[in-house]
Structures are given as C-alpha cells and as structure tokens.
Amino acid sequence: MILRENALLRREVKRLTAENARLANAAQENVRLRQLLELKQNTPLKTIAAEVISRKPSNWFATATINRGRRDGVSPGDAVVDFRGLVGQIVEADLLSARVVSITDPSSAVGAMVRRSRSSGVLQGQASDYLALTYLPKDADVKVSDVVVTSGMGRVIPKGFVIGRVVRVMRNLTTGMTTALVRPSVRFDEVEHVLVVKRAKGQ
C-alpha cells in the first residue's frame, strides 16, 4: 500500500516538475514577446515579427534563418532588431524564410554613431563578440561605456537603434584615426524573436 502510494507520488512529482519547467519557459517567452510588442508599438516604421529557426551554420559566418520570407514582405537589406537593439540585416529572402547576417559577421558594416557626442563612423564585424567602430576622427569624443546607435547613413538601416556600448578606445596618432571596440547589446546566439524593420519608401 505504502509502496504504491510512494510510486504514485514520485510520478506526480515528475509530472509537476516537467509542468513547472514548461510554465517557467512560457513565462520567459511571454516577457520577451511583451518587450518585442512594446518595441513594435514604439517604432514608427513598418515591422514584421519573426522567429529564429536556425542559426550559425559555420563558425566563420554569423548568420541565422527566420521564419518569414518574401511572402510576408521581407526583402534583402531590411534591418533586424530585437528589444535590446540591432541584431543584423536580411541578406537573402526566400518565399517562406530569410537569412539574417549578424552585425558581428566580418562581412557586415553598419553606419553608427556615439549617442552622446554624435561622432559617427562605420561599425564592422570581427568574427568575435566585439565590433569595431572605425573611421572616427582623431579627436572624436568617445569614451568607454558610451552607447552606440545606428546613424542611418547609407539609408539602409534606420537611425536610432541601439547597437551596444564602447568597451575600449584606441587612438592611432600615425593614421589620425580613432577606433572604438563595441560590445553588442544583443548576443546573436541568444536571439529568438525578432522584428524585421522595413525600409521607408524612397530609401
């Protein structure tokens, strides 16, 4: 009798543990989706919500695939963001899916500026967890922990999306250039839900 009750209770504990894990996961997802919804409501541009279905097929290319494609209005060049900031850019759009290249990919280059001083340059991927903000003037006003945002230069990625924070500033007196090392606010490996930001007409 006690043995049977014990087995029954053990089974119940297992079931409740699994249910608890499922609910905790759902709660986390709920928070992420709420933050994404907030971003969608605060962005004046047209956006398309999407989910990452596969990421990084090679250590050399930081790319991911999302579950929205040409049929949903996604096209190459569109910016991809999540509630923490810029994730990357669409490079290829199929009918039902699209490929996103991360801002950390070495082939990626985004017009960016320091939010506090408005010093602008080009942010390049480094195949690592950091980005290099290059082409800043020698006397550019940039400090560690400054926030870097998209500058809208090149008219590809809209202006004002957070990219990350400056962690190191390197001033080269010979070339007269300043380079800032930026830690992205979004870890590409952790992105699940994103918004594809459509370019405004005429861009």
Binding site: N59, W60, T63, A127
Partner: protein, 164 residues
C-alpha cells in the same frame, strides 16, 4: 559502399543539426563543425580517394547550407577527407588518442585552408576559433569512435556466440 551511404546520411544530419547546436557546446566561442566531424570520422577508416570524395560532397552540402564560399568549403573538406584517409593508411592506430590528435590537426588544417581562401573573414580572434573548433571536433570524434568500437565488439561477440 554501406559506410559511404552512412557518411552521406550523417552529412545530411549535420546540415540539420549544425544550425541548432546549443551555445553550451562551444569552446573558446567556437562550436564543433559537424560536417568536418562526419568527414574525418569516415576518413579515419577509409582510403584517401573515397574519403576525399565524401569530403567534397560534405563541402558542397555545407556551402549550400551556409549560402556562401561553396568552392572553399568543398576544397577544404575534400582536403580534410584526403588527409584523414592518408592518416589511416600511415599513422592510424588502435589508441583513441591518435584519432583525437588526427581530428584536431585535420580540423585545424582544413579551417586554415578555408581562411587562406577567404582572407576577408580572417579578422578578430581566428586562432581562438580554430583551436576551439579543433578541440570540439576531436572530443566528438573520440566519443563517436569509442561508441563505434563498443558496437563493433558487441556485434563480434554476438557473431561468435551464434557460431558456437
């Protein structure tokens, strides 16, 4: 023939699994390359020509999967396969540390070849990525070969028992 079909199966499995590997599996920020794992595991028990052919096939599938550098993937994976087959003929032994070392070297050579063919991506901590990926691949290959040997031993025992 049967081994080659298994290799093709594992290459397609790698294409599905490669993009969905958890970050916890990474060393120095680099995840294992399952295409290379499939090619090297196959090549460490086959002749150089067949291994090179499997490597070429894996490289083409990986190139399509990544959507870039198809030629570089095909050539470097073919090189890994050929050298793996060469290792089997000349240095491969029963000790599991030998295939582990071979897998490490083959991954590193293949990825260095890839970087030489694509110098534009050779930015940032490339050594960290190459070493991390090589360690990951070597560890996976050791586990795969260990399991394969246990399976083979059991199969032989069953065969002997059935004969007795």
């Amino acid at each position: 023939m049967k081994r080659s079909l298994w290799a093709v199966f594992w290459i397609f499995a790698a294409a599905v699994l490669q993009g969905n590997m958890p970050t916890a599996l990474s060393i120095f920020g680099a995840k294992p390359d399952l295409f290379l794992v499939a090619v090297i595991t196959y090549s460490l028990g086959s002749n150089p020509v067949a291994s090179a052919a499997v490597g070429l096939f894996a490289g083409i599938v990986q190139g399509f999967s990544v959507g870039a550098s198809l030629g570089s993937f095909a050539l470097t994976r073919m090189l890994a396969g050929f050298l793996g087959g060469f290792c089997t003929v000349h240095v491969f032994s029963e000790n599991l540390f030998v295939p582990a070392g071979s897998a490490f070297v083959l991954t590193a050579v293949s990825e260095l070849g890839f970087l030489l063919a694509n110098p534009q991506i050779a930015q940032g901590p490339v050594w960290q990525i190459i070493v991390g990926e090589s360690i990951c691949n070597a560890l996976i290959i050791v586990v795969v070969l260990f399991l394969a040997r246990i399976g083979e031993r059991r199969r032989k025992f069953r065969l002997i028992e059935s004969r007795l």
